[in-house]
Amino acid sequence: MVFVTCKDTVTGRACCVVLCTTEEQNLVKELVGLSTRDRIRAIRGLSMSFKEKKHIRLVLSHYVSLIIKQYNTNNQVLIQWSCFKLFSQSFRRCGYSIKSARQTLKLWQSIMKEIGGRFGTSVLSYFVFLKWLLMFNIFSFLVNFGFITIPLLVYDPSPNIPPNVSFTGLEMLTGAGYFTYTIMYYGGYSNETLVGLVKYDMKLAYFFTIAVYMVLCGIALIFSMASSFKKNYVLADPTSNSAWQLLSSWDFSITNERAVRQRKNNLRVQIQESLSDKAQRQLLTLSEKLKHLGVYLGFWLLSTSLVVGCGVSIYYLYAANWSLLQEAETLLVPFVVSLMNLVVPLLYSLFNKFEHYSSHRRQIYALVVRNILLKMSILAVLCYYWMNVVAKKFSCWESVVGQALYRLVIVDFLFLMLGSFFGEFLSNVIGTRLIPRLGVPEFDVARNVLELIYAQSLAWIGIYFSPLLPAIQILKLFILFYLKKVSLTQNCQPPRRTARAAQMQTIFIALLFFPFFVGSLSIVAYTAWRLTPSEQCGPFRGLNSTFSVVGVWMDDLHEIPGSQWVIWIYENIIKSEIFYFLMTLIIIDTYIAIENKPFMNCG
C-alpha cells in the first residue's frame, strides 16, 4: 500500500489518498510518463466507473506535483512549474470552450437525431455526407466572395452592362443574358490592380484564392479519408457472420418503437435465412454458375454500351446545337444530361434485380461502379467539348463555360427534385397500392450519395469559371436536405438489411476524392496551365496562360527589395519537380502514420 498525503482541491481539506492495488499503482506510473493530452485521453479511455476515473485523475495530478516537488527544491522552478500548469489548464479550458462554441453552430442536430432514431445509421450517413459537403461550399463561397468579389464591388459597384440587355426572368434558369456581364462569371472580373486603401492585384487574388481553396479541399479530403479508413475499414471476417449478426449488428441508436419492432423482425428473418442458406449454398451446380456468369457479363456489356451511347449522344447534341442567341435552346443539353443521370441509374437498379449476387455488398459495389462510370464519362465528354471546342470558338469562352455549368447545376437540381418524386413517392404508391408485393421502398443510399458527389464535382469544376457558383450550390444542398428528409419520412421504410454503413461511408469519401475531386482539380489545372485566357474579358486577359500570372508577379517582385525570399521559394521549390515528389512522399508518409497510430488499451 502506498499513502500519499495531499489536499483535496474541491473541498480544500487535507486527505489521504490511498493507492490500494498494485494495478492502480502501475496504471498511475504508466500514465505519469505521458503528456497531458495523452494522459487525458488515457483517463477517458479507462474502463472503470466514473468514481474510479475521477480518483485516478486526482491521484495523478497530486503525484505529478509531488514528483516535481521532490525533484526541484528550487523555489524558482516550482513557481515556474505552477505557472506553467495554470497556463496549460486555462489553455485546455479555452480549447474546451471553443469546442462548445462550435456546437452552437451545429446545424440540423435534432432532425438528424430523429432520422437516425427511425431509420438507423446507414440512412443517416447520407444526411451526414450532405451536411459535410455543405460545409465545403460555405467555405468556398466565403473565400471567393471575400477575396475576389468584395474588392471588385468596393472599387466598381455597378457592372458594365451593354445598353440593350435587360433583366428578364429567364436568366435565373439559363444564366445567360443579363448575368453574363455581372460578377457571376469570370468575364465580369477586371484584370487591374485596384488602388484603394491598399494596392490589390485582382489577377493574383483570383488565381491564389482558387488555388489555395482547391489545395485546402484536397488536404481536408485526404485527412477525412485517412481517419475514416482507420476507424471503419476493417477486413470483415466472412467466417464470423453469425457472431457479428448477434453481437454487434444491433443499432443502439434506433429509438422509434415501430422501427425497433421492424428491426427485430428483419433480424429474425435474416437469422432464419442464414440457417437455411448453408444447406442451399452447396446446390449451385456448374451450369447454374455459368448461367449467372453469363447474365453478369451480359448486363455489364449493356451498362457499358449505355454509358458510351450517352457520351456520344451528348457530344453530338452539343456540337450540333450550340447557339448563343436562342437562349431557351441552350437548356437542351443540360436537360438531356440530367435526364440520363436520372433514368440510367434507375435502369441499373432494375438490372440488379435480375442478377444474382453472392452477397448484398457485391450488389451495392457493382451498382456504385456502374453509376460512377456513367457520371465520369458524362463529365469527361462535357469537359472535352468545353476545353477543345468552346475555348477556341468564343471570345469570352470562360463565361460561356461558366454559364453552361450554371445551367447544369440548376437543371440537375430540378431533376433531383423530380428524382425524389419518381424514386420515392411513386415507388411508395406503386408498392402500396398497385403491386403490394414490392412493398414500401427503402431509401437508396448509394444512388443518392452518388448524385450528391456528381453535383459537388460540377461545383468544383465551376469555381474557376464562375466564382459565385458555390452560392447556388449552398442553396441547392440546403433545400435538398429538407426535401429528402420529407420524402424519406413520408415514403420510405427503414432498410431491411443492416448494410455495413461505416464501410460505405469510407468508400463514399474515397470516391468523392479519388475520381471526382482529382478529376475536377485536373480540369481546372489544365485550364490554368494550357489554355489561353480570352482576350476581351476576365482577370487574365492578354496573358499566355493563367499560370503566367505568377511569373509576371515574380518579375515585379525583383524590383521590390526585401522580397528575395519569395523569389527564391518560387525558383527553387515551386518550379522544381523534386518539390512535388517530396510532397507526394510526405502525403503518403502522413497517411501511413495515421494508419499506424497505436490504440489505447483498456481493461
Binding site: 445509421t121 475499414y233 490504440f599
Partner: protein
C-alpha cells in the same frame, strides 16, 4: 470562460470534461436532461456533491432508452449499485461511452459487460440465448436458438472453453467494422 453557471464548481466541470468525451455545454445539457427525469429529487446545486440516485424506472423511461431491448442491462452495467439506479456521474459515464467519440476498445469492454447477463465475466450459452431472445422477440424456435448460439460459440470462441471471454469478444469486434457506429446512442 463562457456563461456563468452555479450548478458545478469549475473544478468539477474540469473533472467531467477530462473524464468524459463531452464538452462543457453537453455536460450542462445532460445535467438538465437528468434533472428533467425527476425535478424534485435532483437539486440545482451540485457543488457539495449531493448523493442523489434516480431509480431505474425513470432512467428506462427516457426516449433514447425506452425502446432499446438492452436498456435494463445498460443501466445495470453503468450504475454503481448494479441494480440500475444511477447517479449523475453514472449517467454521464453511460452516455459518454455510448457517444460517437468513445474508442472501439472502451465500447467493446462495455458491450461485453452488457451481454454478460449473469455477470460472471464470460458470455456463456445462456447469455447468448437471452441476447438472441431479446433481439428477436422470442419468436425463434428453441432449435433455431440453440443452433445459432452454437454457431456463435464455434465462430468466436478461440480458447475453446465453450464460452466467450473478453479477449474472444474483442477479437471478434475488431473484425466488425460497424460496431463503432451501431453501439452509439445519440443524446
Amino acid at each position: 470562460m463562457g456563461n456563468k453557471q452555479t450548478i458545478f464548481t469549475a473544478q468539477q466541470l474540469d473533472a467531467y470534461q477530462d473524464c468524459t468525451y463531452f464538452t462543457r455545454k453537453e455536460i450542462l445539457r445532460l445535467f438538465y436532461r437528468y434533472r428533467d427525469l425527476a425535478p424534485q429529487l435532483v437539486p440545482l446545486d451540485y457543488t457539495n456533491q449531493p448523493d442523489v440516485k434516480l431509480p431505474y424506472e425513470l432512467i428506462g423511461s427516457m426516449p433514447e432508452l425506452k425502446d432499446n431491448p438492452f436498456r435494463q442491462r445498460i443501466a445495470e452495467v453503468f450504475s454503481e449499485d448494479g441494480e440500475g439506479n444511477m447517479t449523475l456521474d453514472d449517467f454521464l459515464d453511460m452516455f459518454s461511452v455510448l457517444s460517437e467519440m468513445a474508442p472501439r476498445d472502451l465500447k467493446a469492454y462495455y458491450a461485453f459487460k452488457i451481454y454478460d447477463f449473469n455477470n460472471d465475466d464470460f458470455i456463456c450459452k445462456s447469455d447468448l440465448e437471452k441476447t438472441l431472445n431479446k433481439l428477436t422477440r422470442n419468436e425463434l424456435t428453441e432449435d433455431e436458438v440453440r443452433m445459432v448460439c452454437e454457431k456463435v460459440i464455434d465462430e468466436a470462441d478461440l480458447d475453446n472453453d465453450g464460452r466467450l471471454s473478453l479477449e474472444d469478444f474483442q477479437h471478434m469486434i475488431v473484425r466488425a467494422p460497424d460496431f463503432l457506429s451501431t453501439f452509439h446512442i445519440r443524446i
